[in-house]
């Protein structure tokens, strides 16, 4: 059950429920079954980064993966997007078995599963213009000509709120602010029309005042295009704002899962409570912040 639509989205006109349903039917379901990942260190130590994790992301759903650093959430992101293979367990996306992909087949996966990265300063090649970065997915996955890809790049820029598109198309990353760069990263993720977007801490490195804008963009895009969203974060608040389901990860295991609003109001696991209490919020009840 999707979250209530923000006034902006409603005002912008129909979020095309029919289109959404049709689209959602075309997007496969992502299923992770008993996934584990062990890393071997140089000194023969073994690190269990992900421990027996299972979950599904239904078509068109917004799910968040919440945990602190070291909880295994970034590892899971890499496993889901095919960048790494799990030690055991399986991940399927429709008829694609992500966990057993050969390098050639990885491209097929990227056509459907895209990623938004955490660091806006590292995710864009400093020597390529925004237009080039946004044209490539279209040319590679959709077989667009250069002219078509350029038009699509302009459309994408408008979609993510970087307007006028022509002004931004010619810019290099160092000429953009952190928030603008992140929007370009989101535009690139959308460029090949994927079914699932994995957003790995997309706003952690942005100013607090810019986060709502980028998050609302992600939420709006998900609703309008009917794609699935996996939102990875250490901040339960933003998880609550844009996702319906939440999985709380601690030391590689899922310690709590359920509807986001429910989990936040009635957390059961100790770790979830820790995460809740750590959210910087000086205006709430005492005991929820740094003691004075």
């Amino acid at each position: 059950m999707p979250a209530d639509i923000s006034p902006e989205v409603a005002a912008a006109g129909r979020p095309e429920p029919d289109g959404r349903a049709a689209r959602a039917a075309a997007v496969p379901e992502l299923t992770a079954t008993a996934v584990s990942k062990t890393y071997r260190g140089h000194d023969r130590t073994r690190v269990l980064a992900v421990d027996d994790v299972s979950f599904t992301i239904p078509p068109g759903a917004a799910v968040s993966l919440v945990g602190a650093s070291g909880s295994g959430k970034s590892t899971l992101a890499r496993l889901i997007t095919g960048s790494e293979r799990p030690t055991s367990g399986s991940i399927t996306f429709g008829d694609l078995t992500v966990s057993r992909l050969r390098p050639g087949v990885q491209r097929r996966l990227h056509r459907q599963v895209q990623m938004v990265f955490q660091d806006p300063y590292g995710a864009l090649n400093p020597l390529h213009t925004v237009a080039y970065t946004l044209m490539r997915p279209g040319q590679n996955f959709l077989g667009l000509t250069a002219a078509q890809a350029r038009d699509r790049a302009r459309e994408l820029l408008e979609t993510v709120g970087l307007s006028p598109a022509d002004q931004f198309a010619a810019k290099l990353p160092h000429q953009l602010s952190g928030g603008q760069r992140q929007r370009v990263v989101i535009a690139r993720a959308l460029a090949c029309d994927p079914g699932l977007i994995v957003a790995d801490e997309p706003v952690s490195m942005l100013d607090v005042s810019l986060r709502a804008g980028v998050l609302s963009l992600l939420a709006d895009l998900r609703l309008r295009r009917g794609l699935s969203l996996l939102y990875i974060t250490h901040d339960l608040l933003s998880a609550r704002a844009i996702t319906d389901q939440v999985l709380v990860l601690h030391q590689g295991r899922v310690v709590e899962r359920g509807e986001t609003s429910e989990v936040l109001r009635h957390p059961r696991d100790q770790y979830t409570i820790r995460l809740l209490e750590a959210i910087p919020n000086p205006f709430s009840r005492p005991g929820n912040h740094v003691t004075r």
Partner: protein, 340 residues
């Protein structure tokens, strides 16, 4: 006597070619001994630049164009070289942004403490290896780390642990003033809270004056006694933290406060501030003014309360409420401010 008194600070970045950027404009700031002040603002507002300027750590192409800084009665604005180094010895310390990346990757933590302690030897300091090890272990304990960390390398420590080591290094010479530049930016919420608590406890126990620079107003409000809000290179609000919690005066501060919400509430509204901060660069031209004079309030384009005077005159920083604020509208009607 105030520990640090800065008057009329103007900091400009002068690149070899291209536009000059006025990072800090006409700023006054006074710190009393033992105060814990937070400087808050969006990226590019000049807060880090101000922190670096106050501790005389600016490097070319940035320089203090005008203004005076006095530390414990001594004018340090004109100091350079060896006298400045001596001032740093017991005067101030700086914990850098991503202080964790400021650790040397090829030397153990122990060596880095050794470097600091041997570089600035005060009378009575024990600089024998055993003495350094003892002093270092005590510092690590103060920041909540085990003595075994001394023998580790930076990459063997987590982000939070590295940040704590950086803080311990800053404490090594018992400075009177420590500037923490965005100490929690790349850390997750749990570690963030722990590090802030550590800083708060240290400040209270050791009594040094501290400046905490961050874009996260929530974090700053929870840890500091006094908050200074900067926008476009100038201070727009300066209030005790407790007063700000009751109500902000400047619309920008209100907007920042509005970005936070109680996670357990029924209604969660995530808000941002529309628009972007202004560009402080001055196009290269033959005229090189000594100061960048402004004829409007920088925040007016994004301000819901903007009136005509806001677009014609830059509001001065005047006493308002328990501190100061720079707003035409609120200066006229102080009772109009409300809690965020």
């Amino acid at each position: 006597m105030p520990l640090l008194a800065a008057r009329g600070i103007n900091v400009v970045y002068v690149p070899a070619s291209g536009a000059r950027v006025w990072a800090v404009r006409d700023t006054d700031l006074t710190l009393e001994p033992g105060e814990f002040v937070g400087i808050v603002g969006e990226s590019g507002c000049g807060k880090s630049t101000l922190g670096y300027a106050l501790t005389r750590m600016l490097r070319p192409p940035a320089r203090i164009e005008s203004g005076t800084i006095s530390f414990d009665g001594t004018d340090i604005s004109a100091l350079d070289g060896e006298p400045l180094r001596r001032q740093r010895r017991g005067g101030f310390a700086l914990v850098l942004q991503s202080g964790m990346n400021a650790l040397n990757p090829v030397r153990t933590v122990r060596h880095q403490f050794g470097d600091v302690m041997k570089a600035h030897v005060r009378p009575g300091d024990d600089t024998a290896p055993a003495g350094i090890a003892r002093r270092s272990a005590a510092l690590l304990e103060a920041v909540g780390l085990d003595g075994g960390v001394l023998h580790r390398f930076a990459h063997e420590l987590s982000g939070g642990m590295r940040q704590r080591v950086a803080i311990a290094l800053a404490l090594a010479l018992e400075p009177r003033l420590i500037v923490f530049d965005e100490p929690t930016t790349a850390l997750d919420v749990i570690v963030q809270q722990a590090v802030l608590q550590t800083i708060k406890d240290l400040q209270r126990d050791r009594g040094f004056t501290a400046i905490l620079i961050s874009h996260d107003l929530g974090a700053v409000l929870s840890a500091t006694d006094r908050v200074v809000v900067m926008y476009a290179g100038r201070i727009v609000e300066d209030q005790p933290a407790a007063a700000l919690l009751r109500g902000a005066h400047h619309p920008y501060t209100e907007a920042l406060i509005g970005c936070y919400a109680d996670p357990r509430g029924d209604v969660i509204q995530l808000r941002g501030i529309p628009g972007t901060p202004p560009d402080l660069s001055q196009p290269a031209s033959r005229a090189r003014p000594a100061v960048l004079t402004q004829h409007a309030c920088s925040f007016a384009p994004r301000c819901a309360l903007a009136e005509d005077i806001c677009r014609e005159q830059d509001p001065p920083l005047t006493p308002l409420g328990a501190g100061r604020a720079a707003c035409h509208v609120r200066a006229k009607a102080p009772e109009a401010s409300h809690a965020g």
